[in-house]
Amino acid sequence: LQLDFWLAPRGLGYPVDVRVPFPSLQPLKAHLEANGISYSIMIEDVQVLVDHERTEMLRGRRWLPLSTNTFDYATYHSLDEIYAFMNLLVAENPNLVSKIEIGRSTENRPLYVLKFSKGGTKRPAVWIDTGIHSREWVTQASGVWFAKKIVLDHKNDEGLASVLDKMDIFLEIVTNPDGFVFTQTQNRMWRKTRSRHSGSVCIGVDPNRNWDAGFGGPGASGNPCSETYHGPYANSEPEVKAIVDFVKNHGNIKAFVSIHSYSQLLLYPYGYTTTPVPDQKELHEISGKAVAALSSLYGTNYKYGSIITTIYQASGGTIDWAYNQGIKYSFTFELRDTGRYGFLLPAKQIVPTAEETWLALKVIMLHARDHLY
């Protein structure tokens, strides 16, 4: 019968697992039933699993890049590939780049932040995060590109070099790793975290409604099954709490940028209230300059303004919290495109998107450097 025992017979009363070739199924079943031996089917078709694993492995192991110079920035990568990239980048540039673990996700994945620093102790710093909403794939991909860009340009680009002379840059590329893995394995459109909270079968909290700024107010949902569920309480999500703790402990963050897609917008606080921020005028001016710089590269059109006046009311948002912590230069980007591909932005647009966005980021960083407070 060519039976393949995966759990071999040990003795009376012990279970046995066996893989059965298709032609032997009927004879084996007949034999077991004739002898009163009960059985259950654990895997209907092993070939399906094997095929699936093969495609997964082919995709994931195209060839492991041995340096960040052979890494393909113009394609979407898995979490493992991005984490491997980070290690490579640090290994190649130990005097500029280090990796910090700021916490763990719900599913116990490490939350990593890259620190770019030319020295000093707790210098004033810029914070950038990408991938807080897992389905917004162009953002994590852009984060990877930014990391490499900083390393490439930190000496020869005047603007960047001057920023790093005075400030550090912190970059969290995969801010929501559980969600990210879920978009790759189960549901490409997953947005939230993967936490379970008692009282509901639904999973996940919107990490951009979970911050302590107007938490639970209009502009978020109290329904755990909703895509904008704010969670049971502010900072309930470890992904959010990790950043809160990091920022508070650091105490010297001067600019905070949280990156999303899509819509092509540059936004500043507030989202939870129509009350303008005290620094509205300055933030509006910076936004205008940043957007002009962005557009100068490929003509990509961006709109800008406060969250609540430009898109809609949203409570418990990241940059509202950051601003209320005293981080004046708090911005959110919504990257390409405006809906034709939406979340499914073709990979060939990753690098152009990252390139143009970087120009806007430099405007913000340079302004912060020149107006330290």
């Binding site: 459109m189 919107d206 909703s226 895509e227 809906g339 939406g342 499914l344 073709p346």
Partner: protein, 197 residues
């Protein structure tokens, strides 16, 4: 009555969904009455393409679909990485046109939509000249951020109105009829970039 509800004045340009080139400009007014009834719309557009060119493009699209020897089926268009197989482009284009009817009917003063993905497409071969497809499309709903699956059945023949029947997961009633009354064209599929949206 003219003084109730919210009225919006829009001026916007349109672009070809496939090529991105300018397709014309429009002036419109949209009145949302206080009661929960559909909006009152007036619109006037100036197209950059002439009728003949639109017809030609429609026919090209139509022939691409009719040329297939087997019923076309497809899933995940675009795929997770934003790729659309060239052979499935016409299927996607029709889905965009059909979805626009759904989104037109579903949107309100406070709810907007984008077509996020064609989850599945299956062609039904007909004895007459019409092309017919069964789709599952995913709509991205703003500001709720929900992904709404809709089942859409679409029939089309160049020079005839696009016929759309649909049922979305969030719909409470029976299947909706999104059929247009004018000639449907899939050339110059309009993607509006509004001054107001």
């Amino acid at each position: 009555s003219p003084d109730s509800g919210h009225k919006y004045y829009l001026q916007f340009t349109t672009e070809d969904y496939k090529s991105g080139e300018n397709a014309g400009s429009c002036l419109a007014t949209v009145l949302y009455p206080k009661a929960k009834s559909p909006p009152v719309v007036t619109i006037k557009c100036v197209r950059t393409k002439d009728q003949k060119q639109i017809q030609e493009e429609d026919n090209t699209l139509y022939q691409k679909i009719r040329h297939q020897t087997k019923p076309i089926i497809g899933n995940n268009i675009p795929d997770s990485y934003g790729n659309i197989e060239p052979a499935l482009e016409p299927v996607w284009a029709l889905a965009v046109a059909g979805s626009s009817y759904i989104m037109w009917e579903k949107s309100t003063e406070n709810l907007g939509y984008f077509m996020a993905q064609v989850k599945s497409a299956k062609q039904w071969i007909r004895k007459d000249d019409f092309v017919e497809f069964d789709y599952t499309v995913l709509l991205h709903e703003i500001p709720t951020q929900e992904i709404i699956p809709c089942h859409m059945r679409l029939t089309w023949l160049p020079g005839h109105p696009l016929k759309v029947k649909y049922f979305c997961a969030s719909d409470n009633q029976g299947p909706e009829d999104g059929s247009g009354t004018e000639s449907g064209s899939t050339a110059g599929i309009l993607h509006a970039r509004g001054a107001n949206f």
